[in-house]
């Protein structure tokens, strides 16, 4: 499968501290690739490097073979990478509708764009009901949907999602999982960062386990689910031996 997004030996430093140390990741077209790992492993930093919010100190990031590291975030957005950030980060004093409009900032208005608003509203009917409500007053789950909807409005080639299940009720987590699965069925490419390894490994085809800035394990998600180490550390399963 041709790789849509590649990270080649990427390192990211915050001043002198290395948060990501030479990681190599490949994301194929139409795949869900997940990055799991403990707090502070460098997952968010990795996504921020892909979307241009951090500059890698070494290595290369390529989208369809084109080097994108060093580009400004707005330029990378233009090339088709959408980022659903950690903590949702909707624009709190803008309405639901305006938040979606910001997602579509780079697009020309027209029938296609109007259809995409309709698409987001059928995907997330709750957002339709709250179209005029200020985003800051939405519940956590609704804000997550809005952050996803905002990303979809840019018509992205790759969607980066940083802990979409964080702080949500089990029911809402299942809802988010259902939405991600549906996006996959439509052929979208997703990089999913999760603390909830069980959820992530159930959704993804390929998985990377990060430990203190490095890739400790990688492989098909189905295989990692069966891995003893992963079961013990991330799935909380103690294998009788």
């Amino acid at each position: 499968m041709a790789l849509l997004l590649e990270l080649d030996n990427v390192s990211v430093h915050y001043q002198k501290i290395a948060a990501v140390r030479g990681i190599t990741i490949g994301v194929g077209e139409g795949e869900i690739v997940t990055l799991i790992g403990a707090n502070g492993a460098g997952k968010t930093t990795t996504l921020r490097a892909i979307s241009g919010l951090e500059r890698p100190s070494a290595g290369e990031i390529r989208l369809r073979g084109q080097r994108i590291n060093g580009m400004a975030p707005e330029r990378i957005a233009e090339l088709g990478i959408a980022h659903v950030p950690e903590g949702r980060r909707v624009f709190p004093y803008m309405t639901v509708r305006e938040n979606l409009e910001m997602g579509a900032f780079l697009r020309k208005s027209g029938t296609e764009l109007r259809n995409d608003y309709e698409d987001v509203f059928t995907r997330f009917p709750r957002l339709k009901e709250r179209e005029k409500q200020l985003a800051g007053t939405l519940s956590g789950g609704e804000q997550q949907m809005l952050a996803m909807g905002r990303a979809l409005m840019s018509k992205p080639k790759v969607i980066l999602m940083d802990e979409p299940s964080l702080g949500l009720s089990p029911i809402m987590c299942r809802e988010i999982a259902r939405i991600i699965r549906r996006l996959h069925e439509e052929g979208r490419t997703i990089v999913l960062v999760e603390q909830n390894a069980r959820l992530a490994l159930a959704l993804a085809q390929k998985a990377y386990v990060m430990e203190t800035g490095r890739i400790a394990l990688e492989g098909p998600a189905a295989e990692l689910r069966e891995n003893d180490e992963v079961q013990r550390t991330y799935l909380g399963i103690t294998t009788a031996s």
Binding site: A72, E74, M102
Partner: protein, 289 residues
């Protein structure tokens, strides 16, 4: 206070509120997007006043044309301030403070060098007549400020809430990093915010030129009140700034009429202190644009 004085003072309060709102809105907008206070904002007002002095007072252009020309001229000054002062010092609050305070000084000295200091330059009054409202007489020169300020504020509101770039500007004020992820260019938006700040402060200065003695230091008093207004209103809040401008406009005008200008300024500061004790983040208490 007899009824004539009361009506007169009320109308003067509306005029003062209009000017405060024009000046403060730009300050709040720029602060919202850049999180930096522009200490040269009062000088935008001053340059607006000098535009009218030069174009209308010296060159003899019609007054309305001089006012209309002052707006883009000061907007351009705002744009240049963003490009050459705020942008290079974005990462360093202290450097930004020094640089804008320095710019204020430079603009004052420049105006003084070119047109002289000290002498209060009178701009001839273009609309000398007065309107009789009840028993009160109010100069047309002051009254025209009210619709002009309203038009500007409504246009600004329309821009911020109804147009794509206005919304993008608000998005930048609320979360610049996330705005960048949507493809919005932060530098363009800060430049836009500063142009709008210049335009509104410049308009206020231009409208006040025939009323106030035009000097290089005319911005001082205005910017002091504008800062109080913006702090009371909640720093980055446009609506907060307008509400606070109206409150301060009335307080300042009434106290000036009953006592004097110095006491009015003191009362304004006390009002700010009390507001901040009751609502530490200002009336609107949030960073929004």
């Amino acid at each position: 206070m007899d009824s004539a004085t009361l009506i007169q003072t009320l109308l003067n309060s509306v005029v003062a509120s209009s000017i405060y709102a024009l000046v403060a809105v730009g300050l709040a907008l720029a602060f919202g997007v850049m999180k930096m206070a522009n200490f040269a904002h009062g000088e935008f007002f001053m340059v607006g006043a000098y535009c009218v002095y030069v174009l209308y007072g010296l060159l003899g252009l019609p007054f309305p044309l001089a006012v209309v020309l002052a707006v883009p001229i000061v907007a351009l000054l705002g744009l240049l301030t963003e490009r050459f002062i705020f942008r290079p010092t974005r990462r360093n609050v202290l450097a930004g403070f020094m640089a804008t305070a320095g710019l204020a000084f430079v603009l004052q000295v420049a105006a003084g060098r070119i047109w002289g200091v000290g002498i209060a330059k009178g701009v001839p009054t273009p609309y000398a007549g007065t309107a009789e409202i009840g028993d009160a007489n109010l100069g047309w020169q002051r009254l025209i400020i009210i619709p002009c300020a309203f038009a500007m504020l409504l246009a600004l509101r329309y821009f911020l809430y109804r147009t794509k770039f206005g919304k993008a500007l608000r998005a930048c004020a609320q979360d610049p990093e996330i705005a960048a992820l949507q493809g919005i260019r932060i530098n363009r938006m800060t430049a836009l915010a500063m142009a709008l700040a210049g335009a509104s402060a410049g308009l206020a200065g231009a409208l006040m030129a025939p009323i106030l003695p035009v000097t290089p230091y005319i911005g001082h008093g205005v910017v002091l009140i504008a800062f109080i207004v913006v702090i009371v209103g909640g720093m980055a809040s446009i609506e907060g700034a307008i509400i606070a401008a109206v409150l301060l406009g009335f307080i300042h005008t009434f106290v000036t009429t009953l006592a004097d200008n110095l006491i009015a300024t003191m009362v304004g500061v006390v009002f700010m202190a009390v507001t901040l004790i009751l609502r530490p983040k200002g009336i609107m208490g949030r960073e929004r644009a």
